[in-house]
């Protein structure tokens, strides 16, 4: 079961473990990680589960899909090259130790 670390805007960290195949957003919501709103429940239509993936892990996580790429243009916090929607990242053992930063604003 991969473990991921959410770095929150206030500087604290939340470590969460989830089954492989779980969406990163779902892992956050199920564990009450503050700042991952996920209004649309994982359908890539609200852009409120935005995260910044740690620079060194971007390649490992991969690029956004087309729909996600579009939604990332409309996030409340600035889009960066490391931006992803956490609902579109499927956790796997390869992503064990993933670190993502939660932006200040989602809406």
């Amino acid at each position: 079961m991969p473990t991921v670390i959410f770095q929150l805007p206030d500087g604290t960290e939340r470590k969460v473990t989830a089954e492989s195949g779980t969406a990163l957003m779902q892992a956050a919501v199920s564990n009450g990680v503050e700042g991952i709103v996920a209004e649309c429940g994982g359908n890539a239509s609200c852009a409120t589960c935005h995260v910044y993936v740690a620079d060194a892990q971007c390649e490992l996580v991969g690029p956004p899909n087309d729909v996600e790429d579009e939604m990332l243009d409309f996030t409340a916090a600035e889009r960066r090259p490391t931006s992803r929607l956490s609902c579109q990242i499927q956790l796997s053992d390869a992503l064990d130790g993933l670190v993502v930063h939660v932006p200040e604003e989602q809406v």
Partner: protein, 407 residues
């Protein structure tokens, strides 16, 4: 799944007067949140769930809080549709209809036409120096925009408004008024014809509209499914952006300091939109029906129980929004519930945000110089804008009379 028509064992029973709820539901909601956050309300025939956290919890459990509601008036009005369907059936229809409403499509395909229409409507009234911004501007604007995004080429803004009104009346026709059913049937037949015609036209020539997107969906969608879902979108797609426009403009016209700040920082129109939708949510509640027994807000609801998720109440929950009854553009950002949540998150959210906050408000406030409310300002004045706020299932201003310095 049978639908009990009485309170779940242990659920408090609260009598609410529907006329009072329409006039101003917020005092009743505040009382419910404090004393009975899940209450059976006989006049509504449902359990009302009124606290923010409980509503969010329910929205995240669509397998338990099902959108398939027995005896739904919406189903009777428009036939089977994605709003009263759960995944995967809902997802299939949503995926077919959604692409034209995504934010980049709104910006690239629709925004210029939205802006032209807004200018045309303002051209018509600019010299008058007075208008009802709901009837003369907001309603025709959002109806014309909706016809465009849906791909209803032969329908006028007035057609779309009339259809929407007829179906919304039927959707709330708890009194079973035959006249209301008849008008709704006439409207839905007219929509079916218009959709069939549009679907034929785009079969060989896709135009980026919702009807076109559904006609060409990878997972095939039948004409009846397109027709029924277009009906649902027309039902909600007029009043929601119209009401956010009206309430937000009204709120700012009463708060000159806030208005001045917004006019100096056009990016803040987005904040106006979100705060308006939180403060007076255009959709106040929507129904769910339990697929299994489930405990929420201290009550165990049996399978089949009907629940109303009262998002207008969640958006005034003091435990989440400090001084929740106030319209405050500077409040800390917290997600509101006005667009719903989970798989049914409002499909029109990006269209509404753009047409209202990027186009309608900025143009109205820049073109109509010296804009102010025409009504008297005392609370007892029956002509006041506050007296024209109406509704609890849907809530908005029925009129917004203003004056300005005509050129």
């Amino acid at each position: 799944m049978s639908a009990p028509t009485t309170a779940a064992p242990g659920a408090p029973v609260v009598e609410l007067d529907l006329a009072e709820l329409r006039r101003d539901p917020y005092p009743a909601y505040a009382w419910l949140r404090r004393t009975a956050p899940l209450a059976w309300v006989p006049s509504v025939g449902r359990h009302l769930l009124t606290r923010y956290e409980d509503i969010v919890h329910a929205e995240k459990l669509p397998a338990v809080f099902s959108s398939r509601e027995e005896g739904s008036l919406l189903l009777r009005t428009v036939g089977p549709n994605m709003l009263r369907e759960d995944d995967p059936g809902h997802r299939r229809l949503r995926a077919a209809a959604e692409p034209p409403t995504r934010p980049r499509q709104v910006r690239d395909l629709w925004a210029d036409a939205f802006e032209r229409t807004a200018h045309e409507l303002l051209d018509r009234i600019a010299d008058r120096g007075e208008a009802d911004l709901i009837a003369d501007f907001a309603e025709p604007l959002v109806a014309a925009n909706l016809a465009l995004v849906l791909g209803l080429r032969t329908a006028s803004a007035a057609d779309v408004s009339d259809w929407s009104r007829a179906m919304m009346a039927a959707n709330g026709n708890y009194a079973d008024d035959p006249g209301i059913w008849l008008r709704a049937e006439q409207a839905t037949r007219a929509i079916e014809e218009a959709v069939a015609e549009a679907a034929d036209a785009v079969r060989g020539a896709p135009d980026g509209s919702v009807i076109s997107s559904m006609v060409h969906a990878a997972d095939p969608v039948s004409l009846t499914e397109i027709q029924n879902n277009v009906k649902v979108i027309i039902g909600g797609g007029v009043n929601e952006p119209r009401d956010v426009f009206g309430v937000g403009a009204w709120a700012l016209l009463q708060r000159p300091e806030a208005l001045e700040k917004v006019l100096k920082d056009p990016a803040s129109w987005k904040r106006v939109f979100e705060e308006t939708a939180r403060w007076i949510s255009p959709i106040g509640m929507y129904p769910r029906q339990l697929t299994q027994g489930y405990q929420i807000a201290g009550v165990t609801l049996p399978a089949g129980s009907r629940v109303a998720l009262v998002i207008a109440s969640g958006n005034r929950d003091e435990s989440v929004f400090e001084r929740a009854d106030e319209f405050d553009l500077d409040r800390p950002h917290r997600p509101h519930l006005a667009f719903g949540g989970g798989p049914h998150f409002c499909m029109g959210a990006w269209v509404a945000r753009h047409e209202v906050s990027a186009i309608a408000w900025p143009l109205v406030f820049s073109r109509l110089k010296g804009l102010r409310l025409a009504e008297g300002t005392t609370a007892s004045d029956s002509g006041s804008a506050a007296g024209r706020l109406d509704g609890w299932v849907f809530r908005g201003l029925t009129s917004l009379n203003v004056t300005w310095h005509a050129p």
